[in-house]
Symmetry: C2
Subunit: 823 residues, 2 copies
Amino acid sequence: MTQLASMGGDTSADFDDAGGGPTIAPTPYELGTPPGVLDPEELRLVDAWWRAANYLAVGQIYLMANPLLREPLQAEHVKPRLLGHFGTVPGLNLAYVHANRLIKERDLDAVFVAGPGHGGPGPNACAWLEGTYSELYSHIPQDARGMQSFFHQFSFPGGVPSHCAPETPGSFHEGGELGYSLLHAYGAALDSPDLTVFCVVGDGEAETGPLAGSWHAAKFIDPARDGAVLPILALNEFKIANPTILARIPESELFELMRGYGYDPHIVSGDDPGTVHQAFAETLETCLDKIAAIQQQARSAPSELGPDSSAPAWPMIVMRTPKGWTCPPEVDGQRVEGTFRAHQVPLPSAHTDSKHRAVLEQWMKAYRPEELFDDEGRPVPELLALPPTGTRRMSDNPVANGGMLRDLQLPDWRDYGVDVPAPGVQSHEATRVLGGWLRDVTKNNPTNFLTMAPDELASNRLQDILEVTGRKWEIGEGPFDERLDRSGRVIEVLSEHMCEGLLEGYLLSGRHGAFTCYEAFIHIVDSMFNQHAKWLQTSAQVPWRRPIASLNYLLSSHVWRQDHNGLTHQDPGFLDVVLNKDPSVVRIYLPPDANTLLSTFDHCLRSRHYVNVVVAGKQPQFDYLSVEDAALHCARGAGIWEWASNKDDVSTLPDVVLASAGEVPTLEVLAAASILRERLPDLRVRVVNVVDLMRLLPEAEHPHGMPDREFDTLFTATQPVIFAFHGYPWLVHRLTYRRTNHNQFHVRGYKERGTTTTPFDMVMLNDLDRFHLVMDVIDRVPALGARCAGLRQEMEDARLRARTYTREHGMDDPAVSSWTWQG
Amino acid sequence: MTQLASMGGDTSADFDDAGGGPTIAPTPYELGTPPGVLDPEELRLVDAWWRAANYLAVGQIYLMANPLLREPLQAEHVKPRLLGHFGTVPGLNLAYVHANRLIKERDLDAVFVAGPGHGGPGPNACAWLEGTYSELYSHIPQDARGMQSFFHQFSFPGGVPSHCAPETPGSFHEGGELGYSLLHAYGAALDSPDLTVFCVVGDGEAETGPLAGSWHAAKFIDPARDGAVLPILALNEFKIANPTILARIPESELFELMRGYGYDPHIVSGDDPGTVHQAFAETLETCLDKIAAIQQQARSAPSELGPDSSAPAWPMIVMRTPKGWTCPPEVDGQRVEGTFRAHQVPLPSAHTDSKHRAVLEQWMKAYRPEELFDDEGRPVPELLALPPTGTRRMSDNPVANGGMLRDLQLPDWRDYGVDVPAPGVQSHEATRVLGGWLRDVTKNNPTNFLTMAPDELASNRLQDILEVTGRKWEIGEGPFDERLDRSGRVIEVLSEHMCEGLLEGYLLSGRHGAFTCYEAFIHIVDSMFNQHAKWLQTSAQVPWRRPIASLNYLLSSHVWRQDHNGLTHQDPGFLDVVLNKDPSVVRIYLPPDANTLLSTFDHCLRSRHYVNVVVAGKQPQFDYLSVEDAALHCARGAGIWEWASNKDDVSTLPDVVLASAGEVPTLEVLAAASILRERLPDLRVRVVNVVDLMRLLPEAEHPHGMPDREFDTLFTATQPVIFAFHGYPWLVHRLTYRRTNHNQFHVRGYKERGTTTTPFDMVMLNDLDRFHLVMDVIDRVPALGARCAGLRQEMEDARLRARTYTREHGMDDPAVSSWTWQG
């Protein structure tokens, strides 16, 4: 650092008590008028707006009263618990005010993504200065009273979080967990040709894996059809307690890294506000010029992909300014400004320690609030006039509030259904059938529906989508590539984080999509899912937030069919993670065949503001339900399959209920029912299938929850229930433990017994196979037991035979694999 | 691609039936003798070994009989299900054989990490050629019979997975999920100054976030004290169905990226084996020379960190060779070699289609097995003599089998315990107390214990460790940094993936460590945890695998104390993820105070082959148990706290059991017990605390599981149990649903109600507060009810008062927060 602006010099509160209200004078840190693209007047105003935003940020962190410091600062004005992060705020505010200047000058349609965690006071302050805050929250007008409420609510019980959140006007990126800013920014830019996303990336979050990988997201941006992202890497050197990697490597190395990622890096560096303002203003102009040139060229002469294609070198900015810039340089003899100590609250004892409080007062007064706010506490007219107006304000841009949302044109899924002459006889690959429908969804919605896959689109059998589009790709094409396309409607990249993050950005700005993934590896984005679910939960409580399209997962290549991948690829536990989130925003579906999958996915694409998890098979599997029956069954979510039941009618209780949820468990339940029907023809067997897992929950716990009475009708209040479940078995107990008949629920599922083996061997390893289910029935139905010892032994023998066959032949015994339902 | 070696030319099986056994002749692809560092004889042998490894890889994928092709290839020789990935194998084998040459020449202590997924056939083949496979698996001798078993078992039911796995000799890196190869490699290199890790990174996995971030791991490698990693980026251009990003950006851009990451990149590119052999041999020599020079310089004159410090530019290799190199160039008129179609099985119908089978036979014979294996099927003497011997073989290096493991020198935790004159009166920050002990653990074990944190060491109150060491850091130091050190014993980087991956590599090679993380964000590594748990589970079944030290998580900054971070930082669901893994390898502890935390962590650091999850508080919290009591309580895992119970003795049943697990729930349970004692002095209240969550499971389901009899003694078989739990409440139901008294379990926990608020407001939001627990008791104990309507109302009022106070003052009502236990 060459020279730090002294902020503590002039502490005299110099209220203009003459008529005419305050005017904005030169700053105490001798702003000067360094030459540059800003004329002195512009510079003065930009700086004043920046000072105001910084003042409002400090106020949020510290004050609960006396917002304009018009009384001497007392302990009771300062919050008892000081919570918030100032370190990154001045950088955010700097980027914001300069973005505003060019939005106005160029009439840009722009949004702002604040990547640095807990930088909330910055964007909050900007939104208040722009007036949006007061428009959305009537208790926070743009005056002294509003300022007081605005300060008070920040990181205060019942108030707003310290990071950008659903409550933050103009934000569509939660600042809680780090690493996803660029992905959300690029996701919003997709299919938004006129949008510019200013995305500030923290140098802390830049260390995360997801962020490190996501710089490559620019390679999926088509300058002709998509908008632009301008990444601004905020290099303020410090995290909570440590320096950051990118700040400590030589600048030349950082530039190589950015060029290696495909960017054209620019740097703005310094700690003198005037100089930095000029440099940032000029650099921003240059970058926006370059973006415009890239887009203009692509839009005037769109080019095909070819061997020498390369994504344009999009500009990006490295903004190297001090951590906690403009905060007290030293506190208690320790350097603060420009160090990790400025990360959070630079004066942690301001409530209790009068010396800290005096420094706080000096610090805040150094921004000269008396010039920035009038007697009523309103921003002075010059400041009010500075930002753009209406929806050109980034805090009011509808894009940040799902504003691009419109309904999908969905073809009738019934037209894509398979004929089912009889249940359990013909087979289809369920996801392949769905792919046919998704192909036409893609075709019908050419600018607002995308499918994401980590190199697994075809592996999960959705390749029919590629009949109408290609895979989005902007860099070199080789002679043996297939279906790459600059404007493709499918994004494939071997990063679950990137698939998830781009889709989230796309949804949050108001579009639709699906993410297809191997079931086990969706755990890679557990934490991103958590954050998105929390965003949905909270934003549903924010009155001005609009519902967005649901996040739809299609998980295939699931636990039961990892024939050669083995244990590492066997994990159905994402369902357990999903169930922990607020019931109002999560849904789980386990369609057992092709037609139920179609019906389910149609429902998901029509829904709003949920996370829908659909687990489906990609291998050939029996069709059970006709289109009509599938529609009915999915509407019910769970129901009796009378055709598969035996001697079951409403007038008498069944001896046993065989229930299933999931493709493979349903097959085994039906095979078990078939054995029972043949061998114990008098046994009353009810077969129940569950598509919508949330139906199992009590009515009070989930909107889809089944009333007890209905549940008891389905599963009985007294009879044994053998439940074959797709995932970990205890999940069903977790859903049903309040039910009357829970003690009779006996659940089979995946219990972490896996390896490289055949499908039937897998179900045997986990005691989910048909033979074991029959044994379970014998063990649980009191009337059976000893009478069926012979049948039980036969089942044991059948398991042994099947196991031996598999070990010898490397495939399932045809006696098992060629089974079909005999109606 | 300039020129592809023709592999299909000579298909005549030319067995040497004259005396003297086979000799290795020139290859059919006209190896030639391009000039280079290998003399013609060396080149011939290196190439022969490579051919042998490739042959053995193809054999694994296709054959179940006729391994040496000494009979015409028939359908019954070919596996009915062809599973495996050939695409990446020739590259892996190339790197392996060249590494071997220099291991021998320079007597290197080296291990091999195969990053590309499903490349298992390659390292398997190398281990078989080196003899290790046969030494470890007696049913797979190094002859024709062994080769047949070796082929047969691959991706076959009851056999081995298609990727590197615990069963793979010399592997400590599971090849199932992608993205962690560099982290495991660097983790193994830490504190292993003489170790060289050859780490092949797939260009597919290079797209993942974790891998993209982990290139920076070199910045934590001290050339004086740590070993070296040589990354070899296998750029074969394709994933399952798509090109890779790094293969399609200009080479100059890729080089900038690698230089930006801090490396000194070298490239070997081509498809002519002879030329590539020469180039790779020479490049490998150059890189190892550079590594040696870096290490020699650092070790001869160790330097302090300073402003201009920079990590050395470690060499790395870009290896650009065709996907499926040496496989049939075309199949069914479609290009295969060098395209994504070579990713998995190039001839998918070889079992059923005689034309495919004929091509397979040609392909395998083109490696000329008759020169490579003698009449008995043993590798010919020249091949046997080629690799290094004993533990210099990478397949037999003990490092890859936890070989560096030795016990930790643990100071007696009792000496670090806090004095507890009476329970619930004095307070300590539990993790701060633990930090004192960990400081001395660190000091006592200067080369085999590391602590990892995503910038949260001090935030989680473990800063005392920094009294004896610094934070490991090899790049520039600034004037305001604190406790950075080239040889620090703490690694802080804002990437949970990097913390986890480095620690895994460190543990897998036989060292010890801990990972401290914010509770909510440990979800970021859910999937890495899953994979590590699966590795532990499987490796415990592999007889020659040694147990390794446990992976110890210390989760703090937990759900109940996110005062200013709010909902985004509130997620205790990692416990649910952990519980899904095999019970033999997972443990969860919830110590309620400082001494129990000490005792727990001591136990964890002594344990082997587990994942231990410890959730503890960092804020001041009451001490309850003396050192002696803590030791006893932790040994039991769960027990009655008699001092907190009321009128509870063994001869009579309590009226109610108040149980807790976790710091904050325990506080609330004690406060509730205190209210009940005062207000309902005749009520028999038993207070139970659970430290070891697995104790709740049935005996048959977990090694720590409590027998039913003991469980019923603790929780009764008939009385209401109000259970206050740290995490999501249904988790306790999942653990206890089989117990006699489960219907009487009433669990309070976190139910996704969170925001920016005070600690007591948080427990109120989730009905876990003391007042609500008292209400629960009134509602559940039949004898109370109407008689206690007044008390119930008081509790409601107390909640309202507390809530109002918080909203007004921004802090908890002192009436609540100043509560202490009155014994």
